[in-house]
């Protein structure tokens, strides 16, 4: 928001600096907004990020569904949607039209009001999450100094929507899905936040913009990404797993496991309400990917990014490329890994992720206090590997015996 405001104040000079079309753009800008009062510029600078968030990210959601379906198809040696438009490019629109025109069914015994409220409650936190995701150098809708904490608080609130939907449907499968969702989100919140604490310790700020800024510089603007640190890599893995569990993506989609509990909390939802649930879920997933990128993959930093108009454009490009990579990674994982069982889910969270994230926090402290870099590298790596191996050993005490089947051969 601030960046947009500054840009608007100096827009003409900045635009004139662009080769070829700069003069034209500057004149256009002058014709449109030249000499506009201060409050107009302020209003525009407020409206632009909001419009950006509510238009671009739902668009990304729509095409994520398409990419997901095509990629899953290719992974299974199928073709995927290719009927609506070239390469199926209009498929999201067709899906939207279909969902909009479907009958809205509310179960007779459902709690009508809560049933109606749940999809709305599912979307709002997901959209709010984007308000702290920096999409470029200095380009963040709101630079809260508690940005990361705000994101976690909001993402926790999204579990309420799942719970409301599951409870209000008066359906045992919905309720089971809601219970699973609640248990899962509470369990995975802890290691996820602790993995983020490592980054916060290293940066010394909760502001997402500050975290992204801390990763600039180095070779090609790349070598300072936190993922290229021992603790950063571990944190990245932990946080990605936590984020996937938090947004109920496969392999952690047991709240909506179709084969077990039909579709979990949205069993009783149809049409547009179902679409809203999907929207909320995907937006949360994308926002979490954005936060992962910001915290570990250098955010908007990349070769050529930096302050100024062009650096800003390149930084936006880098951010969205990394976001795309994260989305593709989640799709790839969805296409590969089987769903975990409920007990595996819980024991994984509490026996592996939680100890590992605490160990990781110690590793960050070591990294901070050992000022000689090579020793810090070796020390933290050894520490993390040691603990990883130990936890492996401890978790593997349960021997899996060969199963004896009574009826199946």
């Amino acid at each position: 928001m601030d960046t947009v405001y500054q840009f608007l104040q100096h827009a003409e000079e900045v635009l004139r600096g662009i080769p070829l079309v700069g003069g034209l753009l500057a004149r256009l800008y002058h014709a449109l907004l030249g000499g506009a009062p201060e409050w107009v510029l302020l209003a525009i600078s407020i409206a632009v990020p909001i419009l950006f968030v509510v238009s671009v990210f739902p668009g990304i959601f729509a095409y994520t569904t398409l990419v997901e379906r095509k990629a899953l198809g290719r992974i299974q040696n199928r073709i995927g949607p290719n009927r609506v438009g070239r390469w199926g490019l209009l498929q999201p629109i067709a899906d939207g039209v279909k969902l909009l025109t479907k009958e809205d069914i509310v179960p007779r015994s459902a709690d009508k009001f809560v049933h109606f409220l749940a999809p709305v409650a599912a979307v709002i936190p997901s959209v709010l999450l984007f308000s702290v995701v920096p999409i470029g150098a200095g380009l963040v809708p709101v630079d809260l100094n508690i940005g990361l904490l705000f994101a976690f608080a909001i993402s926790t609130a999204s579990v309420l929507a799942l719970f409301m939907g599951g409870w209000a449907s008066r359906n045992k499968f919905s309720l089971l899905g809601a219970m699973r969702a609640v248990a899962q989100v509470i369990s995975y919140e802890v290691p996820m936040v602790l993995a983020a604490v490592a980054v916060v310790m290293a940066v010394g700020s909760l502001s997402t913009l500050a975290i992204a800024r801390a990763q600039s510089g180095g070779i090609l603007n790349v070598s300072h990404w936190f993922v290229f640190r021992p603790w950063g890599f571990v944190g990245f893995v932990l946080f990605t797993i936590g984020a996937m569990a938090e947004s109920a993506r496969t392999p952690f989609d047991i709240p909506e496991a179709e084969s077990e509990i039909i579709a979990g909390y949205h069993t009783e939802y149809s049409g547009f309400k179902f679409a809203l649930f999907q929207l909320g879920e995907y937006l949360a997933s994308i926002a979490m990917a954005g936060i992962t990128v910001t915290m570990f993959l250098g955010g908007y930093n990349g070769p050529g990014s930096g302050p100024g108009f062009f650096g800003g454009l390149i930084s936006v490009f880098w951010f969205f490329s990394k976001l795309g990579c994260m989305i593709v990674l989640t799709i790839w994982i969805r296409g590969t890994w089987p769903r975990v069982r409920v007990d595996q889910l819980m024991s994984f969270a509490w026996k592996i992720l939680l100890p590992m994230s605490i160990v990781n926090i110690v590793a960050v402290a070591m990294w901070h206090y050992i000022t000689i870099r090579p020793i810090a590298w070796i020390g933290t790596t050894l520490w993390l590997v040691l603990w990883f191996v130990t936890l492996n050993k401890l978790a593997a005490t349960e021997k899996i015996e060969k199963r004896e089947y009574r009826y199946a051969s």
């Binding site: 508690i146 608080a153 926790t156 309420l160 219970m179 509470i186």
Partner: protein, 172 residues
């Protein structure tokens, strides 16, 4: 500022009243969540952003969800109450007590009794970097209470597990 205050106050009061007066425990819970959001809004309004986020994280993300789980574990799943208990004899007793307390507090506030005890002018400092300040305060001035809090939370965690798992433990 004023508009936000009045809206948030309305949300808060409405949520609180609904939370204690509705019949269905689940509706009570949802009203309570509304109330928590109202309080969090007040924190943001008072420039205590960190507290606001903590309020959402802990009260809505943890306490409300815990209450939901407890409700589902203890009652019929719809959360419906039996016969209407609101507006019974006990209700009037509660109302009376609450009204007396509220009246007393109101009287104290009206009398400006507090104002004499407090510094009249607020110091004019900037609100930035509050999170860092709170963190520093917590691990410098308040480190002993913080550690005590950690012990307390651990004890509460273990205690809760022990109480809830009592029968399981007994069976073993």
């Amino acid at each position: 500022m004023e508009i936000a205050f009045w809206i948030l106050s309305a949300i808060t009061v409405m949520g609180a009243i609904m939370a204690i007066s509705l019949r269905n425990v689940m509706h009570c819970l949802l009203s309570l969540i509304l109330f928590f959001f109202g309080i969090a809004g007040h924190y943001f309004l008072l420039h205590a952003e960190f507290l606001g986020a903590v309020q959402i994280l802990i009260y809505i993300g943890a306490v409300a969800v815990l209450i939901a789980l407890a409700t589902m574990l203890t009652r019929h799943i719809t959360g419906e109450e039996g016969p209407r208990e609101v507006l019974g004899g006990k209700w009037w007793a509660g109302m009376g007590t609450a009204a007396i307390i509220a009246g007393l507090l109101w009287a104290i506030i009206r009398k400006d009794a507090l104002a004499r005890l407090l510094p009249t002018e607020a110091a004019n400092i900037s609100y930035t970097a509050l999170v860092g300040d709170i963190g520093r305060a917590l691990v410098a001035d308040w480190v002993v209470p913080l550690e005590a809090m950690a012990v307390l939370l651990t004890a509460a965690l273990i205690g809760a597990v022990v109480i809830a798992l009592e029968e399981v433990i007994r069976k073993r």
